[in-house]
């Protein structure tokens, strides 16, 4: 009887201890959450990431490399087809290049005459992907360059995959001393001004649509604008002249994003279309951060 009471008391004591521990941990979690949302834990996370970065980078690069190997192995048939298509495209491109070189002198003269020549280059910082998307709810990657390398919030991050042009992968969302988190163009929270490269461009907003099934979408396009599949979409650089102090104002105009694959909506409200990015942000291993623009 006595031992039963003692055991019961011990059990209750253990329960109390478990509950006290649970309460303590929940309070700690809320406190950490609050402090991190206010940016007060950035030095702690930055230091931890600096320590873990080499291990993370090594593991991530190995995983992505292995994934690419198996992907190629599984798609060897389509790769052969792709190779044949690329060779055909190369022949066409070479013919066009000769034609373009012939026209270059005339174009240069016309541009100078019209005063609209805006030949610029991007100043970029190369970076390795330290970590792929780690949280299932967010499409973000971590890169191995941070504040000390001149990276700031809002900068455009570009990548290249196979024969794709250098294209937008995302924008810098958080910056630590030696690393930075990049919000991918496929994340639901991603949004940036974009336009097509048609003679009369269709302006709109590129929003991440991974969570809704597709990858990105061009929204809020004027109902009278011409928007057709195969249209190339590039960044519009709209924020720069309007609000130069916003983080996204650092994304220059003309950064390739993707191609329109199908029209989703066309009514009195406007148009929207699905856009297939040039680069799959989940597969890139090396990226470049556009830190500025240089005039030639």
């Amino acid at each position: 009887m006595r031992s039963s009471i003692a055991s019961s008391k011990q059990s209750r004591a253990l329960n109390r201890r478990s509950l006290a521990l649970a309460a303590g941990i929940l309070i700690l979690a809320m406190l950490l959450l609050l402090l991190d949302m206010r940016g007060l834990l950035m030095p702690v996370k930055g230091t931890a990431q600096a320590v873990l970065q080499p291990t993370e980078q090594h593991l991530t690069q190995s995983r992505v490399g292995l994934g690419q190997f198996f992907h190629d192995l599984l798609h060897i048939g389509s790769l052969r087809q792709q190779n044949a298509d690329l060779q055909a495209q190369l022949a066409v491109a070479q013919a066009k290049l000769i034609q373009l070189e012939t026209n270059q002198a005339r174009t240069d003269a016309l541009e100078r005459e019209l005063g609209i020549r805006q030949a610029y280059g991007w100043v970029t910082v190369p970076a390795h992907v330290v970590q792929g998307t780690a949280d299932n709810g967010r499409r973000m990657i971590r890169i191995g360059k941070g504040r000390v390398d001149g990276v700031t919030i809002g900068m455009a991050v570009i990548g290249k995959e196979g024969g794709s042009p250098p294209a937008l992968v995302g924008t810098v969302d958080r910056v630590y001393a030696q690393t930075a988190d990049v919000l991918l163009i496929t994340d639901g929270a991603f949004s940036i001004g974009a336009r097509t490269t048609a003679v009369t461009p269709a302006m709109g907003l590129i929003v991440g649509q991974w969570q809704a099934g597709s990858r990105t979408r061009l929204d809020d396009v004027d109902r009278d604008a011409v928007l057709v599949p195969e249209d190339v979409v590039i960044s519009a650089g709209l924020s720069k002249p309007i609000a130069s102090d916003t983080p996204l104002a650092q994304v220059p105009a003309g950064v390739p994003i993707g191609t329109v694959t199908k029209l989703l909506k066309a009514d009195n409200q406007g148009k929207s279309a699905e856009v297939q990015p040039f680069v799959d942000p989940d597969r890139v291993r090396d990226v470049w951060v556009i830190t500025g623009e240089q005039t030639k």
Binding site: A22, I25, L32, T55, T133, N136, R138, G188
Partner: protein, 176 residues
């Protein structure tokens, strides 16, 4: 005086070992686990749920603390988000599964299903509070359900492994 009760140095060393183990599990989850349908297996969650079933709420809470902090340091979500979700999962699973036999393998499977749904919901809420747009229907179909399915696939192998570890500890008298 119980001579079998470990000294504080031994207990501290045991906790450091647990924290290191959970950091390694978190590293495996965030860096090495391949993604299927753009979703990854939440190894830390499965391990914490299984350990709670085997050792009770107190031990589960400690693993939630180490796993939650490790994920908080490794992932872009705010520090504390994973800790909060894992701690709540341990509390709920620990309380609900109290009455059910641990030898029935359906119990860990169902607990991992419940834990995955609860954890995903809490993380989505944290993102929502943080200002990220969350489309609930898309989140359900594209993240919550695939993640739960993937977690269930690894639940039993991990549960059996941890049960073996637990039985070894009990045989050696390390656990009361």
């Amino acid at each position: 005086m119980d001579n079998r009760r470990p000294k504080w140095e031994q207990r501290a060393l045991h906790q450091v070992s647990c924290a290191t183990l959970l950091l390694m599990v978190a590293l495996v989850q965030t860096e090495l686990t391949p993604d299927f349908w753009h979703v990854r297996i939440n190894v830390v969650l499965v391990v914490v749920v299984c350990w709670t079933l085997l050792r009770g709420v107190e031990a589960g809470m400690r693993w939630a603390l180490y796993g939650g902090l490790a994920l908080g340091l490794l992932t872009p979500l705010p520090l504390g988000a994973h800790l909060l979700s894992l701690a709540l999962v341990v509390l709920v699973i620990g309380g609900l599964a109290e009455a059910y036999p641990r030898d029935n393998l359906l119990v860990p499977t169902l607990c991992v299903v419940g834990g995955s749904i609860l954890e995903s919901t809490i993380l989505a809420l944290v993102q929502r509070v943080g200002g990220a747009g969350v489309s609930w229907l898309g989140y359900l179909w594209m993240i919550m359900l695939p993640e739960t399915l993937l977690n269930v696939l690894v639940a039993l192998p991990l549960y059996m492994t941890l049960r073996g570890l637990d039985r070894r500890d009990r045989r050696r008298g390390w656990v009361a």
